[in-house]
Every structure is written in C-alpha cells, then in structure tokens.
Symmetry: C2
Subunit: 323 residues, 2 copies
C-alpha cells in the first residue's frame, strides 16, 4: 500500500515501546514541487510549529517523498521469556490480553492465533505440534535488562492465564524453542496465502473489546458463509482477519465480500477502533473510510493534500479521491 | 502560549517515556465552523488516513478546540533513586548526560542546573545547602518496578559521573531528601522571576551537543553583557535559558535582547536542534521561526491553517502570520 512507515510484517510489537511513529524524530522530505524540507529537528522534544513529521508518517507517499529519517533508539533488552498459552475458548484468550496489562505487566509482545492459523502453519512447515481441544493461542513475550526481572513478570502472566481458563502453557526453554514458536506465528500470513485466495483486514479496537470483536467477526463470517483465520498483535488491540475464498463461487466472493468487510469495519468502529492498525488504506481499504471519517474529516485531509501537492501528482488515488 | 498540550511545568520527563504527544491517542475537536471530529480512534495503533491527532497536538489552539482527550496510560514504577551530582565544569556536566544513556541507563529524569539557579533557589526557600567549587549540577532519577533494579542503574550512572570529573554525589536517602532536591530544581523558574526581569528561552538540541550549546550560550551572553541562568531537561537535550535584565538600561534590554536570542537560536539550529522543546511558539518566539523553517515550510503550515480555519479566527496571530 506504499509509503507507510508504520508498517512492518509479522514481528512482535507492543504498546510498551510505543508505535513506530513515536520513534520518528525528523524527516527530510522532497515535496511535489521539488523543494526540500526537514519536517522537524533531530531532537527528542519539539514544540516548534505544526508536527509535520507525524503528519508525514503514514501518509502513504501522498504528501511527499521521504529521503532521510532520523529515528530515536532505545537500548536493547537482552533477556526474554516466551510463553505459548492455549485456550479452549478463543474469546477467553482475547479477554486474557487486557487482564495481563491490568496485572501490571508490559509484555514486549502478545500475539493471538486461532487454531486454524496454527494448524496451517505447522502443517506447511512440518513442525511437530500436538493439538487437543484448544481453539486459540496467545504467544506472550516479556523482556528485561536483567534475568531476575523476568520471573516476576511471568508469575503475573501465569496468574492472568489461570484466571482465564488456560488449558496449557509452554515456556520456550531455549533459543530453538523460541524460534519455533515465533516461526509458527510469523508464517501464518504466508501459509494462508498459499492455502486459498484470501482477503486480509487489519482491524484495531480498544484492547478490552477484543473478545467482542472476535465474536462479532466469527458471527459475520458465519452469516456470509466465509471461513476466517484470525491472528495478530492482540497486545495492541490489532487483529488481522483473513477471509478465505476456498471453494466459494467467484460471484459470491465478489458480491458478498465487500458487504462482510463493511460489517467487520462497522464493528471495529463500534468497539472504539478503526479500519487499519498498521497496514494503511491505499486503494483497497479506501471504499470503507466513510465508516470512520465524516465529510469534514475528508475535507480536512483534502485540504492538507492540496497544500502539499496541489496537482495531486504524488501516489494518486491512494487513501481518498480528489473530490 | 496557549493550546500546547505538550507543555507542563518543571516536573521530570525524559525520552524513556517518550514525549507527551506519544500518549495522545485520540482527540475530539471542535473546528472553526463548529463541526466536530474525532482526530483518530481510541486505539494504540492507527494507520487510517492522515495523523490529525499529532497535527493537533502542539498547534496551540490555531486549528481547533480540543474538547476530549484519550490518553495512553502506563503502569507507575513505584521505586525511585535520586542523585544530585556536582561538577566544577558545567560543560563536563552537560557532556555526562549523553554518556549516561550510552552506558545503557534510561533515567526517568536528568535535570541540569547551573550554580546561579541553585543559589537563587536555596536562598529564596531558605534550604540549607553547602556550596564549594561546583559550577553546575545534574539531578538524576531512575525508576523501576522492583527495588533490585535500581542499584545496577545507579552503578552505571556513578561510572559515567566519575568519568566526567564529578565533584560530589548526594544520594537522596529518604522521601524528604528527594522532595528537597526536587524543590530546588522546581523553584528555579519562579525565583528567577522574582529576582529580575527576565526572558526565558526553551532551547533544544541533539543531546550530544549540550556542552556546545551551553558554551555557546555563555559566550553570547558575555558578548551582550547579559547574565543567564540555565537549567532544564538535559536528558531530553532541552535547556531553559533565562536571560536576566538586572540593572541593565531599558534601551539595551530592548535593542540587544532580540539579537542575543537570535544568536542563541542560530546555535540551536547549528547543533541539530530547534527553538522550542516544549513551550511552543505563540507570539513571543514567532519572530525567530525563520531560523528553522524555510519559506516552503511556512507555506505548508499556512495551507494547513487555511483548510482548518479559512477565516483565521482561531487563536489569531499565533505561531505565524496569514501572509
């Protein structure tokens, strides 16, 4: 979808370290008329004029071309624990996510995976994996600057898991196990692609509404007869919803899919959220932007676009139309 | 200077927790024509359209009136250590600031105070305080979720202090001492006000240039015959420079002060920085904005202002003029 710095694929990320935009301190940008500006300065704090840096991040190449980025760096925490928790009830897994934060832990990642995604992933990669009655998983990572800081965090997480009817918890004992767990998670996107024609949505809601979102999505899928694979950055309230075509007739897929997607995004809005957490809007999500933005919001964005790119020559047609 | 959410006074803040704007997830804004928008959504991640939330933060009431704010919250770290370190050389104190971060510590605050500021503060508040040959101080706070995490951080800080010719380090042993140290720091702004007519600048530079900024500011002050008190959020590269009128003739103050300020801000620009770290621009810093922004930058900001407030009725005259 082009130009969205906030996007990267599959890896862990979480509110603990903020979102990508929080790391961008300054940008050198070439504008539509060929002139060059620094959007900010190479400083950690800046209250000098409008925040053009943050306006540029996520603008998907429609306001200018970024030619230099100054990022804030943080020390790397060398110690990590990784837990894979299974649940017989997917909503319960979702409900456990905010509970972990409420217990005072700030995990470096909480990733949700439903059973279908894990099944496809381990099968495609021939990873030995035992399935029981579980319907969903949470992959939870905590990090620290000393080993002694890990255990108290894990204990709090165990408490939250137990309070949410966890079936089983696997602690990755060594580097190899950690890699295995992460490989299962990271491959889901790719294996879904190989499995079926699909459409991925990048839903994001207020974290406490994750169980409602999950339940709602499954209800909508059932209504339209679609199979879905859900996974993603649950710690951020961000769920990737892959809708699979499988054996559905082309006509159903083409006619019914946009309706199902609209229903899903209306749910996101209802639960405090919006239609893209990290993937951006581009061309594909453009038809759904009216769900979250009123006419005035479009006017403001068009006004900004007009000031930056009066002839609309930069990445034309992306995010919203000229009128 | 109005409307700048990023501003708060005197307390500690540091890159560890990001800047204020990073906590603002969503805003309800009343626009110039009376219409109302949500700039974003109540979510931790959002890649849906332009980042109007971050554009609004720090726009000083010129783009709309904020009527609701959704903030991200982090758990409060209950354990803190506070150190007051003195240096015979103020540049050395400044040079120690980036060294502490390079040692792998992320303090919750590093505040710089030159001797004059501490002298005025303890005298005004009748705080018993012994002075020796020191010329500047660093007040350094670290925080943690367990007491055992504090000592390793303090040890690293001691290492950096010793490598920068520290004279003396006082560890605040109890709540009362911590309060005393913070009171000295927090009162400087007020006591300077009582002491003399003054002008405060909110300089911010790339952290590693703090010693150069300090040396440059003192040189400029000497050149113009001004006395200065420097203090502030050194951990953020943010230094408040108070220029004192004292017994100077009104004519000198009025004619020479703007030249001195321009020289200081040109230094900030030279050292990767800008003219306001947290106080904003308002009316007072407006004449200096051309130091950091080119004509195109002003055009873009005017274009944004035009889309949000076509009749320029919101906080008129602030930050920049209509043409």
């Amino acid at each position: 979808m082009g130009g969205n710095i906030a996007h990267s694929s599959g890896g862990p990320r979480c509110v603990k370290y903020g979102t990508t935009k929080d790391y961008v301190l300054n940008l050198e940008v070439v504008l539509a008329d060929g002139s060059i500006i620094d959007t900010g300065a190479n400083v950690l704090k800046n209250s000098t004029g409008y925040h053009l840096t943050q306006l540029m991040v996520g603008s998907e190449g429609t306001l200018g071309i970024v030619t230099k980025i100054t990022l804030k760096l943080l020390p790397f925490p060398p110690y990590k624990s990784l837990l894979l928790a299974s649940f017989s009830n997917a909503q319960m897994a979702c409900a456990c996510v905010p509970a972990i934060f409420e217990a005072g832990v700030q995990p470096s990642a909480i990733e949700f995976m439903d059973k279908k995604g894990v099944e496809l992933s381990v099968k495609a990669q021939q990873i030995p994996f035992e399935f029981g009655e579980e319907q969903a998983y949470l992959l939870i990572e905590v990090d620290a600057f000393s080993e002694t800081e890990l255990l108290p965090q894990c204990e709090k997480i165990y408490g939250s898991l137990e309070a949410h009817q966890v079936l089983n918890v696997l602690l990755a004992e060594d580097h190899e196990s950690k890699e295995k767990f992460w490989r299962i998670r990271r491959s889901i996107g790719e294996v879904v692609k190989q499995h079926s024609i699909y459409k991925e949505e990048d839903a994001v809601v207020t974290r406490s509404y994750l169980p409602d979102l999950y339940e709602g999505v499954k209800g909508i899928a059932e209504q339209y007869g679609f199979e879905t694979v859900c996974y993603g950055h649950a710690g951020d309230g961000n769920l990737h919803i892959n809708i699979l075509k499988l054996d559905l007739a082309d006509a159903i897929w083409q006619n019914e899919l946009p309706k199902a997607i609209r229903s899903i995004f209306e749910l996101c809005k209802q639960y405090g959220g919006t239609i893209s957490g990290e993937h951006g809007i581009g061309l594909v999500q453009k038809p759904y932007l009216d769900i979250v933005f009123n006419q005035k919001h479009f006017e403001l964005m068009r006004g900004i676009k007009n000031s930056f790119d009066p002839h609309w020559i930069l990445n034309p047609g992306k995010i919203f139309d000229r009128a």
